[in-house]
Symmetry: none
Subunit: 228 residues, 2 copies
């Protein structure tokens, strides 16, 4: 019968953990290292705290490559923290600058074998609004119209299907903290960009540099708006 509000409160009651949770109030997923910096503790300590928060179901975690992205578990957790902030009348959450500082990297870069950065978000949104893909939260699905579209662009789906990896996959973007397109289709799109010489890969960093003609052509092909 005893609803253990004490247990939940104790989780919130540690300064390092509360700093992490407040940092996550922005809604963006943050990595363990970022949260360690935010809480001003070492990675080991942060790992221990994060394990407790996940175990206490205050956070959910998505593993992606060698990163772990943490987010508040549900909206009511955010509401609880909001209420706490309200009671303490402490309304300053210092916004953390996430991801790379290099503007070129923020704009477009390679993520393993597909496109990441602002342009990849624009691409993703455009594909969704055209009805080519469906965002289902943790999963992304290619629709029939999407399949037709990419087939017309020269994608050989039989060949893609042979590879073990999924054709269509969402990937949490490092700088934007939004889903972008991964999978073998994401790979095809990036290779297609290079093949058409719309962009070149930077030799020293992961940045992808579009030329002006290429950027326009890219935007036209996928009907991407708000290209700066």
């Amino acid at each position: 019968m005893e609803p253990n509000i004490a247990f939940i409160s104790a989780l919130l009651g540690d300064p390092a953990r509360s700093r992490m949770l407040i940092a996550l109030m922005g809604g963006k997923a943050l990595t363990a290292t970022e949260l360690a910096l935010e809480a001003d503790v070492t990675a080991q300590t942060a790992s221990s705290h994060l394990a407790k928060l996940v175990n206490g179901e205050l956070l959910i975690v998505r593993k992606q490559g060698r990163h772990k992205y943490f987010q508040l578990h549900r909206a009511d957790i955010a509401q609880l923290i909001e209420q706490l902030l309200n009671v303490t009348s402490n309304i300053n959450h210092p916004a953390t600058i996430t991801g790379p500082t290099d503007p070129n990297l923020r704009k477009a870069r390679v993520c393993y074998d597909h496109l990441a950065g602002e342009l990849s978000i624009g691409l993703y949104d455009a594909l969704v609004s055209k009805g080519f893909i469906i965002d289902q939260g943790f999963e992304t699905k290619l629709t029939n119209t999407g399949r037709s579209f990419f087939h017309a662009q020269g994608v050989n789906f039989d060949k893609l299907a042979k590879a073990r990896r999924p054709v269509c996959k969402s990937c949490l973007d490092w700088s934007e903290r939004r889903s972008h397109l991964a999978g073998s289709l994401g790979h095809w799109i990036l290779e297609d960009i290079f093949a058409k010489k719309w962009a070149v890969r930077d030799l020293t960093s992961r940045a992808v540099s579009f030329n002006s003609k290429g950027l326009n052509a890219f935007a036209r092909m996928y009907n991407i708006k708000n290209i700066i």
Copy 2:
């Protein structure tokens, strides 16, 4: 800067203290000895806890003779605890029934200083359907017709306006997961129910027990349907 939410949460994070605070959710002021019994600790331990809670401004204390009466400091403290109960019931038994198991508590109980439970939900819906209040998600507003109605029932709005707390406020119900009416108007309604002897407050729990005449009169006054 320093997240005071950790300080407040740590206060709530001790089992003995959280038991005391939940006991005070009934809205009644309790003495140190009563709270010690409630928390199942000795008088010395309770004294230490209560000093911390008063110092942290979660409680206020009134000395009366050789007794000390403790109460929740403000309504937002009660709301914080309600939200905590809400979150813990989401987490602990996601499959089972949420909130209190006691059917009397589910039916009607005191939430700090206003009515909670099934009947409060029925009241809220009735007020909305009559156009007396407007539910705006996070806010609840009293309409002009609502103001006229309650004025006719004897509510002194000039007096209510003097208090710092809002007249009309929504409060998320622990067992029902729906908004019910809080604020000074919610307080007036509960006091009105007691004044008209439609219900009595249980001495040991937060339950509010309506007698059959009172329940009918209550339903008639506010035009509440589906009273079981």
